[in-house]
Symmetry: C2
Subunit: 311 residues, 2 copies
Amino acid sequence: MDCFNVTILGCGSAKPTLRHSPSAQVVDFRGNRFLVDCGEGVQVGLCRSRVPMGKIGHIFLSHLHGDHCLGLTGLISTLGLGQRTGEVVIHGPADTERIFSPLFKFFCPDLSMEVRFAPFDTTQSCIIYEDHALIVRTIPLHHRVPCSGFLFEEKQRDRHLLPDRCEELGIPIAYYQGIKKGMDWTDPESGRVVANDLLTTPGERGRKYAYCSDTIYAESVVPIIEGADVLYHEATYTHDELAKARQRGHSTALQAAQIAQKAHVGKLVLGHFSAQFLTAESEQPLLDEARSLFPNTVLANEKMTIEIGLE
Amino acid sequence: MDCFNVTILGCGSAKPTLRHSPSAQVVDFRGNRFLVDCGEGVQVGLCRSRVPMGKIGHIFLSHLHGDHCLGLTGLISTLGLGQRTGEVVIHGPADTERIFSPLFKFFCPDLSMEVRFAPFDTTQSCIIYEDHALIVRTIPLHHRVPCSGFLFEEKQRDRHLLPDRCEELGIPIAYYQGIKKGMDWTDPESGRVVANDLLTTPGERGRKYAYCSDTIYAESVVPIIEGADVLYHEATYTHDELAKARQRGHSTALQAAQIAQKAHVGKLVLGHFSAQFLTAESEQPLLDEARSLFPNTVLANEKMTIEIGLE
């Protein structure tokens, strides 16, 4: 199947540790790389995971807390040092351009490519990227500042042609592409209409990846991420620190699992771990807690690549 | 002897690699920590080298290229999350406040400590920090933007008292401190003056550490850094890339050695390596080149701590 995966570059939270980098990940959809959040050290993460930086055309910032965006100026600067041309689009909340544009002007005035800011409204779900095969939608989240997650949604895939049937009917090959898209076939001579489902079988459904960080427990995301193959959801704390999580606008591992369960996702990836979790052992309670409700859960880790929809 | 050392947190140049972090180092003078440059990833470097972040009171920025200062906002944000109170002083070229003040206001509006900007003139050598035992002076450098190095200069140490001589003369202990500072002793009864050098032997000379990054070859630094125990000098390229070095405002390893030799420093530490040097082997030519002129040369490396003046 065509490539669709996500590589975690950073899954820590604001306070830096030697275990985790701040938030950043790369979605690879059929060779196009989309950067999701851009914490400090993102470039090292890209190098470490051997992601070709030059392939990044769109950067999505969930919100303007430093641990999600302070790697941006350095990254843009490096991208603009090379032979990179064309455009890099930065999707982010309203203030993104106001904050970063002066930095780009000061630190990297001679970029080899264009940078365009594409602000989005964090209060409603909207399509912020679309091409022939992929849609990216925002997922309104509830944090201390305007914040959105992102849903990467593969479009419905082409129907599968039944070639024997088409040949039998003498359909010219030039029509196959349209038939795969769902068109019926009308014989130009006889005027006879053959319904598409006699010529094809259904294509695979589009795969979906949902990114939800940072947020309090918010059931409002459920209908948007319904049926996602993979959900990355923040789980900054265990549930015994629920009060702290709420106060800081974060979720617990159990709450992440509740969202995963309600949205019938395929797999849950926990991330955005508090700096108090300094070892694999100390993170185990986050995993145990989530798995008690939603068994197909894993802990994010730097360099991990998760295939979307292969299970 | 009292502690005086420098720990390298980053000695790479602008383009990130897995081998080196961008420029940052910590000078530890008798337990006070001074941060010199503040590239992205500085916080991880501080964690890795177990430098207590809370002890950093002064940050010195040589110039406003991203690889020397883009870690600042994250660091200030983290410092201000804790119980840190008092003041953090950021010494930098004129534009430092204009660029960073809006970032601090946006990303870390609720700092637990004060941040004060202390701009300096990069065109002349001036004292930018002084306490009872240490002076920090700027070293005007020549780069593509206003840029200064820093000279950390221990003040002349107290003279050593000859206690037998002082006792013999019946000098009250209350006068010892002044005598160690160089005062003569006048007997209040007889009016007899005893010259200080009969009561003391000379104290050790003050130790000096010089930081010169980024700069073209500039002999103007020589009188300022004359006799430094340790000189950290950028050596972005080997001498066969002299033209590129000049064009980009950088030095070669041989040029760093020339400066070290002319200034009669004790030891040369090469740093700010181009991203083309990806292995220890590939950096060896830089070392060989410098050592051909100045044998007591080492290559900087992250986590390396260099004692100042113990040789």
